[in-house]
Protein backbone atom coordinates (compact mmCIF):
# COMPACT_ATOMS: atom_id res chain seq x y z
CA UNK A 1 0.00 0.00 0.00
CA UNK A 2 2.73 2.45 0.90
CA UNK A 3 4.59 1.33 -2.19
CA UNK A 4 1.63 2.11 -4.39
CA UNK A 5 1.22 5.43 -2.69
CA UNK A 6 4.80 6.27 -3.49
CA UNK A 7 4.24 5.38 -7.16
CA UNK A 8 1.43 7.89 -7.24
CA UNK A 9 3.52 10.50 -5.45
CA UNK A 10 6.31 10.09 -7.99
CA UNK A 11 3.73 10.30 -10.79
CA UNK A 12 2.26 13.50 -9.39
CA UNK A 13 5.71 15.07 -9.19
CA UNK A 14 6.64 13.95 -12.70
CA UNK A 15 3.30 15.16 -14.03
CA UNK A 16 3.73 18.54 -12.40
CA UNK A 17 7.26 18.67 -13.81
CA UNK A 18 6.11 18.09 -17.40
CA UNK A 19 3.28 20.56 -16.97
CA UNK A 20 5.54 23.23 -15.52
CA UNK A 21 8.07 22.91 -18.34
CA UNK A 22 5.32 22.96 -20.97
CA UNK A 23 3.72 25.99 -19.38
CA UNK A 24 7.10 27.70 -19.10
CA UNK A 25 7.47 27.28 -22.86
CA UNK A 26 3.95 28.63 -23.19
CA UNK A 27 4.67 31.73 -21.13
CA UNK A 28 7.87 32.49 -23.01
CA UNK A 29 6.08 31.91 -26.31
CA UNK A 30 3.11 34.02 -25.30
CA UNK A 31 5.37 36.86 -24.21
CA UNK A 32 7.17 36.69 -27.54
CA UNK A 33 3.87 36.60 -29.39
CA UNK A 34 2.75 39.77 -27.67
CA UNK A 35 5.99 41.69 -27.92
CA UNK A 36 7.26 40.59 -31.31
CA UNK A 37 5.54 40.72 -34.62
CA UNK A 38 5.18 37.30 -36.24
CA UNK A 39 6.71 37.07 -39.72
CA UNK A 40 3.84 37.67 -42.09
CA UNK A 41 2.98 35.13 -44.75
CA UNK A 42 2.83 36.27 -48.30
CA UNK A 43 -0.83 36.19 -49.24
CA UNK A 44 -1.25 33.60 -51.98
CA UNK A 45 -4.55 32.56 -53.42
CA UNK A 46 -6.32 29.21 -53.20
CA UNK A 47 -6.77 27.62 -56.64
CA UNK A 48 -9.87 28.52 -58.62
CA UNK A 49 -12.62 25.95 -58.55
CA UNK A 50 -12.97 24.59 -62.09
CA UNK A 51 -15.54 21.91 -63.02
CA UNK A 52 -14.12 18.77 -64.61
CA UNK A 53 -15.84 15.73 -66.08
CA UNK A 54 -13.91 13.42 -63.75
CA UNK A 55 -14.98 15.24 -60.56
CA UNK A 56 -17.28 13.57 -58.10
CA UNK A 57 -18.06 9.95 -57.38
CA UNK A 58 -19.49 9.34 -60.87
CA UNK A 59 -16.83 11.26 -62.78
CA UNK A 60 -15.57 10.04 -66.15
CA UNK A 61 -12.72 11.13 -68.37
CA UNK A 62 -13.52 13.48 -71.23
CA UNK A 63 -11.33 11.79 -73.83
CA UNK A 64 -11.41 14.78 -76.18
CA UNK A 65 -10.21 17.00 -73.35
CA UNK A 66 -7.41 14.57 -72.43
CA UNK A 67 -6.26 14.53 -76.06
CA UNK A 68 -6.29 18.32 -76.20
CA UNK A 69 -4.36 18.45 -72.94
CA UNK A 70 -1.89 15.92 -74.25
CA UNK A 71 -1.32 18.15 -77.24
CA UNK A 72 -0.63 21.12 -74.98
CA UNK A 73 1.82 19.06 -72.95
CA UNK A 74 3.52 17.77 -76.05
CA UNK A 75 3.82 21.10 -77.82
CA UNK A 76 4.47 23.39 -74.84
CA UNK A 77 5.32 21.75 -71.52
CA UNK A 78 7.47 18.93 -72.84
CA UNK A 79 10.14 21.39 -73.88
CA UNK A 80 11.21 21.59 -70.24
CA UNK A 81 9.17 19.08 -68.21
CA UNK A 82 9.54 15.32 -68.26
CA UNK A 83 6.68 12.85 -67.82
CA UNK A 84 8.77 9.92 -66.75
CA UNK A 85 6.14 7.59 -65.30
CA UNK A 86 4.01 7.66 -68.44
CA UNK A 87 4.76 5.25 -71.30
CA UNK A 88 3.74 5.91 -74.89
CA UNK A 89 1.60 2.75 -74.73
CA UNK A 90 -0.48 4.43 -72.02
CA UNK A 91 -1.79 6.87 -74.63
CA UNK A 92 -4.03 4.07 -75.90
CA UNK A 93 -6.05 4.67 -72.74
CA UNK A 94 -6.95 8.19 -73.88
CA UNK A 95 -8.37 7.13 -77.18
CA UNK A 96 -5.41 6.81 -79.54
CA UNK A 97 -5.13 3.59 -81.55
CA UNK A 98 -2.11 1.36 -81.74
CA UNK A 99 -0.89 2.86 -85.00
CA UNK A 100 -1.12 6.43 -83.73
CA UNK A 101 0.76 5.47 -80.57
CA UNK A 102 3.48 3.74 -82.59
CA UNK A 103 3.85 6.71 -84.89
CA UNK A 104 3.96 9.16 -81.99
CA UNK A 105 6.51 7.04 -80.12
CA UNK A 106 8.68 6.82 -83.22
CA UNK A 107 8.61 10.62 -83.54
CA UNK A 108 10.37 10.92 -80.16
CA UNK A 109 14.03 10.15 -79.64
CA UNK A 110 14.76 8.06 -76.56
CA UNK A 111 18.13 7.07 -75.13
CA UNK A 112 19.57 3.96 -76.75
CA UNK A 113 22.77 2.09 -77.45
CA UNK A 114 24.48 1.89 -80.80
CA UNK A 115 24.34 -1.86 -81.60
CA UNK A 116 27.72 -1.77 -83.33
CA UNK A 117 29.81 0.40 -81.06
CA UNK A 118 27.92 0.22 -77.75
CA UNK A 119 28.02 3.96 -77.43
CA UNK A 120 25.15 5.85 -75.89
CA UNK A 121 22.96 7.31 -78.59
CA UNK A 122 19.30 7.91 -79.28
CA UNK A 123 16.79 5.90 -81.22
CA UNK A 124 13.16 6.38 -82.21
CA UNK A 125 10.83 5.46 -79.38
CA UNK A 126 8.71 2.31 -79.15
CA UNK A 127 5.29 2.14 -77.51
CA UNK A 128 6.89 0.45 -74.52
CA UNK A 129 9.26 3.37 -73.94
CA UNK A 130 8.53 6.10 -71.44
CA UNK A 131 8.29 9.79 -72.30
CA UNK A 132 11.90 10.95 -72.58
CA UNK A 133 13.22 13.72 -70.38
CA UNK A 134 14.12 16.95 -72.17
CA UNK A 135 17.39 17.02 -70.23
CA UNK A 136 19.95 14.25 -69.80
CA UNK A 137 20.16 14.86 -66.03
CA UNK A 138 19.30 17.32 -63.26
CA UNK A 139 22.54 19.23 -63.65
CA UNK A 140 21.76 19.95 -67.28
CA UNK A 141 18.16 20.86 -66.34
CA UNK A 142 19.36 23.30 -63.69
CA UNK A 143 21.98 24.78 -65.97
CA UNK A 144 19.46 25.42 -68.73
CA UNK A 145 16.88 26.97 -66.41
CA UNK A 146 18.65 29.48 -64.24
CA UNK A 147 19.16 26.84 -61.51
CA UNK A 148 15.47 25.98 -61.22
CA UNK A 149 14.93 22.35 -62.21
CA UNK A 150 11.60 21.92 -64.04
CA UNK A 151 9.83 19.21 -62.04
CA UNK A 152 8.53 16.00 -63.58
CA UNK A 153 4.83 16.41 -64.34
CA UNK A 154 3.65 12.77 -64.13
CA UNK A 155 2.32 13.16 -60.59
CA UNK A 156 2.02 16.94 -60.40
CA UNK A 157 -1.72 17.08 -59.77
CA UNK A 158 -1.40 14.62 -56.89
CA UNK A 159 1.68 16.33 -55.52
CA UNK A 160 -0.10 19.62 -54.87
CA UNK A 161 -3.07 20.42 -52.70
CA UNK A 162 -6.16 20.56 -54.96
CA UNK A 163 -3.69 19.73 -57.74
CA UNK A 164 -5.86 19.85 -60.87
CA UNK A 165 -7.24 23.26 -60.01
CA UNK A 166 -3.82 24.39 -58.86
CA UNK A 167 -2.16 23.54 -62.18
CA UNK A 168 -4.91 25.21 -64.20
CA UNK A 169 -5.00 28.29 -61.94
CA UNK A 170 -1.25 28.64 -61.99
CA UNK A 171 -1.12 28.50 -65.78
CA UNK A 172 -3.81 31.19 -66.05
CA UNK A 173 -2.57 33.18 -63.09
CA UNK A 174 0.47 35.06 -64.37
CA UNK A 175 0.02 38.80 -63.84
CA UNK A 176 1.80 41.87 -62.58
CA UNK A 177 1.84 42.17 -58.77
CA UNK A 178 -0.80 44.63 -57.59
CA UNK A 179 0.24 47.97 -56.11
CA UNK A 180 -1.40 47.15 -52.76
CA UNK A 181 0.55 43.92 -52.50
CA UNK A 182 3.84 45.67 -53.19
CA UNK A 183 2.99 48.41 -50.73
CA UNK A 184 2.28 45.87 -48.00
CA UNK A 185 4.94 43.30 -48.90
CA UNK A 186 7.79 44.97 -50.78
CA UNK A 187 9.66 41.65 -50.67
CA UNK A 188 7.00 40.15 -52.95
CA UNK A 189 8.34 42.04 -55.97
CA UNK A 190 9.68 39.47 -58.44
CA UNK A 191 13.46 39.18 -58.52
CA UNK A 192 15.11 39.13 -61.95
CA UNK A 193 14.20 35.93 -63.77
CA UNK A 194 11.18 35.31 -61.57
CA UNK A 195 7.54 35.83 -62.44
CA UNK A 196 4.66 36.92 -60.24
CA UNK A 197 1.87 34.41 -59.82
CA UNK A 198 -0.71 34.73 -57.01
CA UNK A 199 -1.33 30.97 -56.89
CA UNK A 200 2.30 30.07 -56.24
CA UNK A 201 2.95 29.85 -52.47
CA UNK A 202 5.79 32.38 -52.43
CA UNK A 203 4.31 34.35 -55.33
CA UNK A 204 7.52 34.24 -57.36
CA UNK A 205 7.88 31.52 -59.90
CA UNK A 206 10.93 30.68 -62.00
CA UNK A 207 8.81 29.35 -64.85
CA UNK A 208 8.02 31.99 -67.44
CA UNK A 209 4.38 32.07 -68.52
CA UNK A 210 4.16 29.02 -70.81
CA UNK A 211 0.73 29.78 -72.29
CA UNK A 212 0.90 33.29 -73.61
CA UNK A 213 -1.26 33.57 -76.70
CA UNK A 214 -4.57 32.15 -77.76
CA UNK A 215 -4.09 29.67 -80.56
CA UNK A 216 -0.64 28.68 -79.37
CA UNK A 217 -1.77 25.08 -79.90
CA UNK A 218 -4.14 24.01 -82.66
CA UNK A 219 -6.64 21.50 -81.33
CA UNK A 220 -7.57 18.61 -83.62
CA UNK A 221 -11.22 18.74 -82.57
CA UNK A 222 -11.56 22.39 -83.56
CA UNK A 223 -11.94 23.68 -80.00
CA UNK A 224 -10.80 27.27 -79.76
CA UNK A 225 -7.44 27.33 -78.00
CA UNK A 226 -7.91 30.15 -75.53
CA UNK A 227 -5.39 30.32 -72.69
CA UNK A 228 -8.10 29.20 -70.29
CA UNK A 229 -8.98 26.27 -72.53
CA UNK A 230 -5.36 25.16 -72.86
CA UNK A 231 -4.74 25.51 -69.13
CA UNK A 232 -7.80 23.52 -68.06
CA UNK A 233 -7.18 20.85 -70.69
CA UNK A 234 -3.55 20.31 -69.78
CA UNK A 235 -4.54 20.18 -66.10
CA UNK A 236 -7.05 17.47 -67.03
CA UNK A 237 -4.38 15.58 -68.96
CA UNK A 238 -2.00 15.80 -66.01
CA UNK A 239 -4.73 14.50 -63.72
CA UNK A 240 -4.90 11.48 -65.97
CA UNK A 241 -1.10 11.04 -66.00
CA UNK A 242 -1.07 11.28 -62.20
CA UNK A 243 -3.70 8.63 -61.77
CA UNK A 244 -4.73 6.76 -64.92
CA UNK A 245 -6.88 4.46 -62.77
CA UNK A 246 -8.94 7.30 -61.28
CA UNK A 247 -12.16 6.53 -63.16
CA UNK A 248 -11.76 2.79 -62.78
CA UNK A 249 -11.28 3.33 -59.05
CA UNK A 250 -14.56 5.18 -58.72
CA UNK A 251 -16.37 2.69 -60.91
CA UNK A 252 -15.06 -0.19 -58.80
CA UNK A 253 -16.09 1.60 -55.65
CA UNK A 254 -19.82 1.64 -56.33
CA UNK A 255 -20.47 -2.10 -56.56
CA UNK A 256 -18.25 -2.65 -53.52
CA UNK A 257 -20.14 -0.10 -51.46
CA UNK A 258 -23.56 -1.27 -52.60
CA UNK A 259 -22.69 -4.86 -51.77
CA UNK A 260 -21.34 -3.86 -48.37
CA UNK A 261 -24.44 -1.83 -47.63
CA UNK A 262 -26.60 -4.81 -48.47
CA UNK A 263 -24.45 -7.18 -46.39
CA UNK A 264 -24.42 -4.78 -43.46
CA UNK A 265 -28.19 -4.40 -43.47
CA UNK A 266 -28.46 -8.18 -43.44
CA UNK A 267 -25.95 -8.35 -40.60
CA UNK A 268 -27.93 -5.75 -38.68
CA UNK A 269 -31.21 -7.66 -38.85
CA UNK A 270 -29.46 -10.92 -38.17
CA UNK A 271 -27.85 -9.41 -35.08
CA UNK A 272 -31.14 -7.90 -33.97
CA UNK A 273 -32.90 -11.20 -34.26
CA UNK A 274 -30.20 -13.14 -32.45
CA UNK A 275 -30.28 -10.64 -29.62
CA UNK A 276 -34.07 -10.32 -29.47
CA UNK A 277 -34.55 -12.92 -26.74
CA UNK A 278 -31.99 -11.33 -24.43
CA UNK A 279 -33.70 -7.95 -24.40
CA UNK A 280 -36.85 -9.23 -22.73
CA UNK A 281 -37.58 -7.33 -19.56
CA UNK A 282 -37.95 -9.31 -16.41
CA UNK A 283 -41.54 -10.13 -15.63
Amino acid sequence: MTKLLSIRLVAILVGLGFAVVALYSFVVGAYAAITEEAPAHLPYEEPRDIAYSFDGPFGKWDVQQLQRGFKVYNEVCSACHSLKFVAFRDLEQIGYDEGQVKAFAASKQVPGIDPNTGEATTRPGLPTDYFPSPYPNNVAAAAANNNAIPPDLSLMTKARHDGTNYVASLLMGYQEPSAELLAEHPEAAPAPGLHHNPYFPNLNLAMAPPLTTAGQVTFDDGTEATIEQMATDVAAFLTWTAEPTLVKRKQTGWPVLIFLLFATVLAYFSKKQIWAATKRKAA
Partner: protein, 190 residues
Amino acid sequence: MADTAATATSETAVVTDDGIRRRDFLDIAAVSAAGIGGLAVVYPLISQMAPSKDVLAASSTEVDVSAIEPGQAIKAVFRKQPLFVRRLTGAEIQAANAVDTSSLRDPQTLEERTKEGHEDMLVTMGVCTHLGCVPLGAAEGEVKGEYGGYFCPCHGSHYDTAGRIRKGPAPANLEVPEYEFTSDTVIQVG
Protein backbone atom coordinates in the same frame (compact mmCIF):
# COMPACT_ATOMS: atom_id res chain seq x y z
CA MET B 1 -38.04 -14.82 -15.12
CA ALA B 2 -35.01 -12.64 -14.90
CA ASP B 3 -32.76 -15.34 -16.17
CA THR B 4 -33.63 -14.84 -19.81
CA ALA B 5 -30.05 -15.07 -20.96
CA ALA B 6 -29.89 -18.66 -19.92
CA THR B 7 -33.26 -19.22 -21.56
CA ALA B 8 -32.06 -17.65 -24.78
CA THR B 9 -28.98 -19.81 -24.72
CA SER B 10 -30.91 -22.99 -24.30
CA GLU B 11 -33.26 -21.86 -27.07
CA THR B 12 -30.37 -21.88 -29.47
CA ALA B 13 -30.03 -25.57 -28.96
CA VAL B 14 -33.68 -26.28 -29.77
CA VAL B 15 -34.11 -27.58 -33.28
CA THR B 16 -37.59 -28.08 -34.64
CA ASP B 17 -38.77 -31.00 -36.75
CA ASP B 18 -37.72 -29.64 -40.12
CA GLY B 19 -34.20 -29.10 -38.80
CA ILE B 20 -34.11 -25.43 -39.74
CA ARG B 21 -35.71 -22.70 -37.73
CA ARG B 22 -37.31 -19.85 -39.58
CA ARG B 23 -35.10 -17.28 -37.97
CA ASP B 24 -32.07 -19.06 -39.38
CA PHE B 25 -32.83 -17.68 -42.80
CA LEU B 26 -31.48 -14.24 -41.97
CA ASP B 27 -28.36 -15.65 -40.38
CA ILE B 28 -27.67 -17.89 -43.34
CA ALA B 29 -28.15 -14.95 -45.69
CA ALA B 30 -25.80 -12.77 -43.65
CA VAL B 31 -23.13 -15.45 -43.44
CA SER B 32 -23.48 -16.12 -47.17
CA ALA B 33 -23.06 -12.44 -47.93
CA ALA B 34 -19.87 -12.43 -45.86
CA GLY B 35 -18.69 -15.49 -47.78
CA ILE B 36 -19.39 -13.86 -51.13
CA GLY B 37 -17.53 -10.76 -50.01
CA GLY B 38 -14.58 -12.87 -48.96
CA LEU B 39 -14.54 -14.66 -52.31
CA ALA B 40 -14.70 -11.37 -54.21
CA VAL B 41 -11.56 -10.25 -52.41
CA VAL B 42 -9.70 -13.32 -53.62
CA TYR B 43 -9.98 -12.23 -57.24
CA PRO B 44 -7.73 -9.15 -57.12
CA LEU B 45 -5.38 -10.98 -54.74
CA ILE B 46 -4.82 -13.67 -57.38
CA SER B 47 -4.97 -11.38 -60.37
CA GLN B 48 -2.23 -9.11 -59.01
CA MET B 49 0.31 -11.88 -59.58
CA ALA B 50 -0.41 -12.13 -63.32
CA PRO B 51 1.92 -10.18 -65.64
CA SER B 52 1.55 -6.44 -65.18
CA LYS B 53 0.77 -4.08 -68.05
CA ASP B 54 4.38 -3.13 -68.71
CA VAL B 55 5.40 -6.78 -68.94
CA LEU B 56 2.58 -7.57 -71.35
CA ALA B 57 3.45 -4.54 -73.47
CA ALA B 58 7.13 -5.44 -73.85
CA SER B 59 6.39 -8.30 -76.19
CA SER B 60 7.88 -7.47 -79.55
CA THR B 61 11.53 -7.39 -80.56
CA GLU B 62 13.29 -6.47 -83.79
CA VAL B 63 16.39 -8.40 -84.84
CA ASP B 64 18.82 -7.48 -87.62
CA VAL B 65 19.85 -10.77 -89.27
CA SER B 66 21.99 -9.38 -92.11
CA ALA B 67 25.31 -10.12 -90.43
CA ILE B 68 24.73 -13.83 -89.84
CA GLU B 69 26.89 -15.99 -92.09
CA PRO B 70 25.73 -19.46 -93.18
CA GLY B 71 26.44 -21.92 -90.38
CA GLN B 72 26.39 -19.16 -87.79
CA ALA B 73 23.72 -18.30 -85.24
CA ILE B 74 23.01 -15.36 -82.95
CA LYS B 75 21.25 -15.14 -79.65
CA ALA B 76 18.72 -12.37 -79.20
CA VAL B 77 16.28 -11.74 -76.35
CA PHE B 78 12.54 -12.06 -76.76
CA ARG B 79 10.25 -11.67 -73.75
CA LYS B 80 13.23 -12.03 -71.44
CA GLN B 81 14.09 -15.39 -72.99
CA PRO B 82 16.82 -16.35 -75.47
CA LEU B 83 15.95 -16.39 -79.14
CA PHE B 84 18.15 -18.32 -81.61
CA VAL B 85 18.46 -17.06 -85.16
CA ARG B 86 20.49 -19.38 -87.36
CA ARG B 87 21.42 -19.22 -91.03
CA LEU B 88 21.60 -22.79 -92.26
CA THR B 89 24.22 -24.02 -94.73
CA GLY B 90 23.15 -25.96 -97.80
CA ALA B 91 24.29 -29.19 -96.19
CA GLU B 92 22.27 -28.48 -93.05
CA ILE B 93 19.14 -27.79 -95.12
CA GLN B 94 19.68 -31.04 -97.01
CA ALA B 95 20.18 -32.95 -93.78
CA ALA B 96 16.97 -31.51 -92.39
CA ASN B 97 14.97 -32.28 -95.51
CA ALA B 98 16.35 -35.83 -95.76
CA VAL B 99 14.58 -36.89 -92.58
CA ASP B 100 11.35 -38.85 -92.89
CA THR B 101 9.01 -36.67 -90.83
CA SER B 102 6.83 -39.62 -89.86
CA SER B 103 9.73 -40.95 -87.84
CA LEU B 104 9.87 -37.78 -85.72
CA ARG B 105 8.44 -37.30 -82.25
CA ASP B 106 7.00 -33.94 -83.31
CA PRO B 107 6.59 -34.24 -87.10
CA GLN B 108 7.32 -30.97 -88.92
CA THR B 109 9.24 -30.13 -92.05
CA LEU B 110 11.90 -27.45 -92.24
CA GLU B 111 9.55 -25.50 -94.55
CA GLU B 112 6.86 -25.45 -91.93
CA ARG B 113 9.36 -24.06 -89.46
CA THR B 114 10.74 -21.24 -91.63
CA LYS B 115 9.29 -18.41 -93.73
CA GLU B 116 8.82 -18.75 -97.45
CA GLY B 117 11.84 -17.42 -99.34
CA HIS B 118 13.91 -17.54 -96.18
CA GLU B 119 14.21 -21.31 -95.69
CA ASP B 120 17.81 -20.87 -94.59
CA MET B 121 16.78 -18.68 -91.64
CA LEU B 122 15.80 -20.78 -88.63
CA VAL B 123 14.29 -18.68 -85.87
CA THR B 124 13.51 -20.57 -82.66
CA MET B 125 13.23 -19.91 -78.98
CA GLY B 126 16.37 -20.91 -77.14
CA VAL B 127 14.31 -22.74 -74.58
CA CYS B 128 14.42 -26.52 -74.36
CA THR B 129 10.88 -27.88 -74.51
CA HIS B 130 11.73 -30.35 -71.75
CA LEU B 131 12.23 -28.14 -68.70
CA GLY B 132 13.25 -24.80 -70.06
CA CYS B 133 17.06 -24.85 -70.07
CA VAL B 134 18.95 -22.98 -72.79
CA PRO B 135 20.34 -25.50 -75.33
CA LEU B 136 23.92 -25.24 -76.61
CA GLY B 137 24.84 -24.88 -80.26
CA ALA B 138 24.08 -21.24 -81.04
CA ALA B 139 27.49 -19.82 -80.17
CA GLU B 140 30.68 -20.64 -81.96
CA GLY B 141 32.36 -23.79 -80.64
CA GLU B 142 29.43 -25.04 -78.58
CA VAL B 143 28.36 -28.67 -78.74
CA LYS B 144 25.64 -29.07 -81.36
CA GLY B 145 24.55 -32.55 -80.41
CA GLU B 146 24.33 -35.75 -82.41
CA TYR B 147 22.14 -34.19 -85.09
CA GLY B 148 24.18 -31.02 -85.66
CA GLY B 149 21.54 -28.62 -84.36
CA TYR B 150 21.22 -27.86 -80.68
CA PHE B 151 21.99 -29.87 -77.58
CA CYS B 152 20.48 -29.29 -74.18
CA PRO B 153 23.00 -30.21 -71.50
CA CYS B 154 20.50 -30.35 -68.67
CA HIS B 155 18.95 -33.68 -69.56
CA GLY B 156 20.52 -34.53 -72.91
CA SER B 157 17.98 -33.51 -75.53
CA HIS B 158 19.33 -33.43 -79.08
CA TYR B 159 17.79 -31.17 -81.72
CA ASP B 160 18.57 -31.38 -85.44
CA THR B 161 19.40 -28.60 -87.89
CA ALA B 162 15.71 -27.68 -88.12
CA GLY B 163 15.50 -27.43 -84.30
CA ARG B 164 13.42 -30.60 -84.13
CA ILE B 165 13.68 -32.97 -81.18
CA ARG B 166 15.45 -36.17 -82.19
CA LYS B 167 16.72 -37.78 -79.03
CA GLY B 168 16.32 -37.23 -75.30
CA PRO B 169 13.44 -36.36 -73.00
CA ALA B 170 12.12 -33.18 -74.65
CA PRO B 171 8.54 -33.69 -75.90
CA ALA B 172 8.49 -31.17 -78.78
CA ASN B 173 10.58 -29.24 -81.27
CA LEU B 174 12.12 -25.93 -80.27
CA GLU B 175 9.30 -23.41 -80.44
CA VAL B 176 9.18 -21.14 -83.46
CA PRO B 177 7.77 -17.82 -82.19
CA GLU B 178 5.49 -15.66 -84.28
CA TYR B 179 7.65 -13.42 -86.40
CA GLU B 180 7.85 -11.79 -89.78
CA PHE B 181 10.45 -10.30 -92.07
CA THR B 182 9.85 -6.55 -92.08
CA SER B 183 12.63 -6.31 -94.70
CA ASP B 184 15.12 -8.76 -96.16
CA THR B 185 17.46 -8.20 -93.26
CA VAL B 186 15.20 -7.45 -90.28
CA ILE B 187 12.77 -9.72 -88.51
CA GLN B 188 10.19 -8.60 -86.00
CA VAL B 189 9.38 -11.19 -83.37
CA GLY B 190 6.07 -11.08 -81.52
